[in-house]
Amino acid sequence: MTDTLTGNLTWDSIMIVKAIKDPNFNTIITANAAAMIPVGTVLIFAILTWTKYWKKLFSEWITTTDHKKLGIMYVIFAMIMLFRGVVEGTLMRINQAGALDGGMLSSDHFNQLFTTHGTTMIFFVAMPLIIGLMNFVVPLQIGARDVAYPVLNQISFWLTAAGGSLITISLLIGEFSTGGWSNYPPYTGKVINPGVGPDYWLLAVGLSGIGSTLTGVNFSLTIYKLRAKGMRFMRMPLFVWTSLCTSILLIFAMPPLTASIIMLGLDRYLGFHFFTNDLGGNMMSYANLFWMFGHPEVYILILPAFGVMSEISATYAAKSLYGYKSIVAATMCIAVLSFTVWLHHFFTMGQSATINAAFGIATLLIAIPTGVKIYDWLATLFRGRIRFTTPIIYLSGFFILFTIGGLSGIVLANPTIDFQVHNSLFLVAHFHNVIIPGTLFGMLAGIHYWFPKSFGFRLLESYGRVTAMLWIIGFCLTFFPLYPLGLMGMTRRTVDYMDPAYQPYMFVAGAGALCLSAAFVGLLLTIWRSIVHRKELAVPLGDPWDGRTLEWWTPSPAPEWNYAVLPEVDAIDAFTLAKERGTAYAPVDKYTDITLPPSRYYGFIVGLLAATMGFAIVWYIWWLAIASLTGIVITVIVYGYLPQCGHVIPASELAEADESWRRRARAERGISRDEETAVSNQGLACPDLIPTP
């Protein structure tokens, strides 16, 4: 019976109460994890009060419209969610290691684990990581002061955070979906699955999906309209190119997801018949819609990683990127082709052989532009003066492992083979093999590379290298055993198995999962130890790696205004050219006042109301849902009326900051590449002049 005031919410919905009433292994594990939410919240509140950080938190972070701070918040958010994703993954692998004839987890708990693991990793780790990096880097790389719509950007972030908070709350109150990250009906329909799980999935993914759509609009507009003077399309850094393609994919690929979520929601809440088994419903429509989003999504995740790889291979080889035009063309090809292959996610679901063949061939075609890129990066490194830094370790791991993952994808693209291995661990091995070495390694390399630009100091190389090796080894141990397991016939998403031949492989995968957990701890240690040693690692002059693109042409951490005077560009590697000419740090004649977007509460309010609305809809608390929605509409209208004056930085203040930076850069000696990781690296590079062929 639905209560008017509290909807379907009762005391028994709270996981901890459930565990006390029915204590067993599964409920206690979940209750412990759930207890981390209130305990963590209280702890954070206590720390904030203790350090008197509340005011600063609001004035400098929550209300910020600065693309750099939003980017940092996206990455921190992704790291928190990554913690959950890694713990869940490890728990599943450890369960599997001992799951011969039944493991420690119940099947329902295991189903929730793989669903939350997948949903979290895709929507709340990978997406925020790429969007966070795009936020931080793109405006700097195109020589702009911010994105085109700073407040919209803020709203996008808080909508993503709202989605993330819903999936987190589902741990404490109620349950999450058991339908896998793709949430297929009719299994997730009301008839088979009347609980709140699928509703949580719909609202969490739906809200963050709207945020991502708006991000796509914002960033493509920013890249089209706000580039520095002289930065023609074919002079844009590769990361900007890949971000542009990703933004375009977001614009076109998120709507199918939104549509499928609306339809499944109507099915569940209002008894519509889009995907039901009866009255003409057809779940194939869901499969088509979901994968029309789902496949471009794969490229949304991988393209920015390709951009990072392009940047770091050029920088750390001290050469200009080999085959710039071919990489740009390949990126665009991938973006277009990504919309032509969605059906390969369900070859076995009843199409004719002809259709399967057409989509199989389209899928194989994508290997060509991807191969072009890999060769271009190899050629960039060839005869370069490579420094074997942490990002290059990630790049090396990426080269080998991503290529293997791509090749197993080519195997799967053949429908006849897919019929044999579909729904097996072979598939699980394949997509982890592209997403971890591709997206995750790319993002981690990017974080290492741009960290000094965000915080003003480098990350420790010693810790960074060990962590990178742990990720690589952990990945190999965890996922390579899944290939033979898949070929032996072990299906995915099974909580236990009866064939003892599986177990040795499962032991290796379990050990690998522990190694990956260690890698995550290593990542946190790297950041923590670097913060401790931040004085020795500081690079205030802004160019620690002998960078080639605009973002290195400003102090580190990047000032609020990015550039005191907007740069002008006449080549691809504009900054390298300026350094070669010796004009990089020349005095500037004239500074003018700058207007920056001021701090605003809109994004936070919209996000908070959206999260409340989502929670209310999940629990059928209709008064609260309507009130929150009305609140969102009112907030948007108020935003339309209130003055939009910016926050002005006077020319004198700019001149003072900028001149002292330029003076110091002219006075200092600079360091060669051999001293890059030494204390003497203050962020002024003596360029290694390798003649461009």
Binding site: A148, V217, I251, P255, G271, H273, G280
Partner: protein, 212 residues
């Protein structure tokens, strides 16, 4: 007549508007990009509608439920409203390059457009109620689910557009024809035309195709 560079698709404010014209380049272009996303959403609803067009599951079909008279009225309201919104934008372009011009015609055309939009909505809601009375509720069959959600989505967009227009009218009356309301009118007008375009799709694919 002077030729000025066109900064974004559609009617431009023109160089006489100075800064407002320059700034419109980013603002209106961004709105066009958003519409590209929105039209894909509609496209998905159309696709699902077409694939479930025959799945009436023994329930009522188009011939039992649709009234072409009412649909003709709705189409008329929406198309005329598009013309009046165009008149509002022309008035904005030619009369409001200086901030002191009288606002009455601009407000008049905007209000006429929104009234026609509300007329459309009134007819549509009456249709929906009528269809429900004839047993055509969305939970009856997959086809009815698709019909209600596709046409309802469009109706929801028209409602949002009407609300947006009223907000603009209030803004213009309270704050004058300043940059943000100029951009809002331009974006809203593009949105309003876009909804016409979608309606033509609905008229053809849902109503005409359903009744032949």
């Amino acid at each position: 007549m002077t030729t000025t560079k066109s900064n974004y698709p559609g009617l431009n404010l023109g160089a006489a508007h100075g800064d407002d014209h320059e700034a419109a380049e980013t603002a209106i272009f961004g709105f066009w990009i958003f519409l590209m996303s929105d039209i894909v959403t509609f496209g998905m609803f159309f696709a699902v509608y077409v694939t479930s067009a025959l799945n009436t599951a023994g329930g009522p079909g188009p011939k039992d439920l649709f009234s072409l008279t009412s649909v003709a009225w709705q189409t008329g309201f929406l198309l005329v409203s598009s013309v009046t919104s165009g008149l509002a934008v022309l008035n904005l372009k030619h009369e409001h390059s200086q901030s002191q011009s009288p606002r009455k015609w601009l407000v008049f055309w905007l209000l006429v457009s929104v009234l026609l939009g509300i007329g459309f909505l009134q007819q549509e809601v009456r249709d929906f109620i009528d269809i429900a009375h004839k047993g055509g509720v969305p939970s009856r069959s997959a086809w009815l689910s698709a019909f209600w959600s596709l046409v309802g989505m469009h109706g929801l967009h028209v409602s949002v557009g009407s609300l947006w227009c009223l907000v603009i009218v209030m803004g213009v009356l309270a704050q004058g024809v300043i940059q943000r309301w100029k951009h809002a009118i331009m974006s809203w007008a593009v949105f309003w035309h876009f909804l016409d375009l979608v309606w033509i799709g609905i008229f053809t694919i849902v109503f005409l195709r359903g009744l032949v």
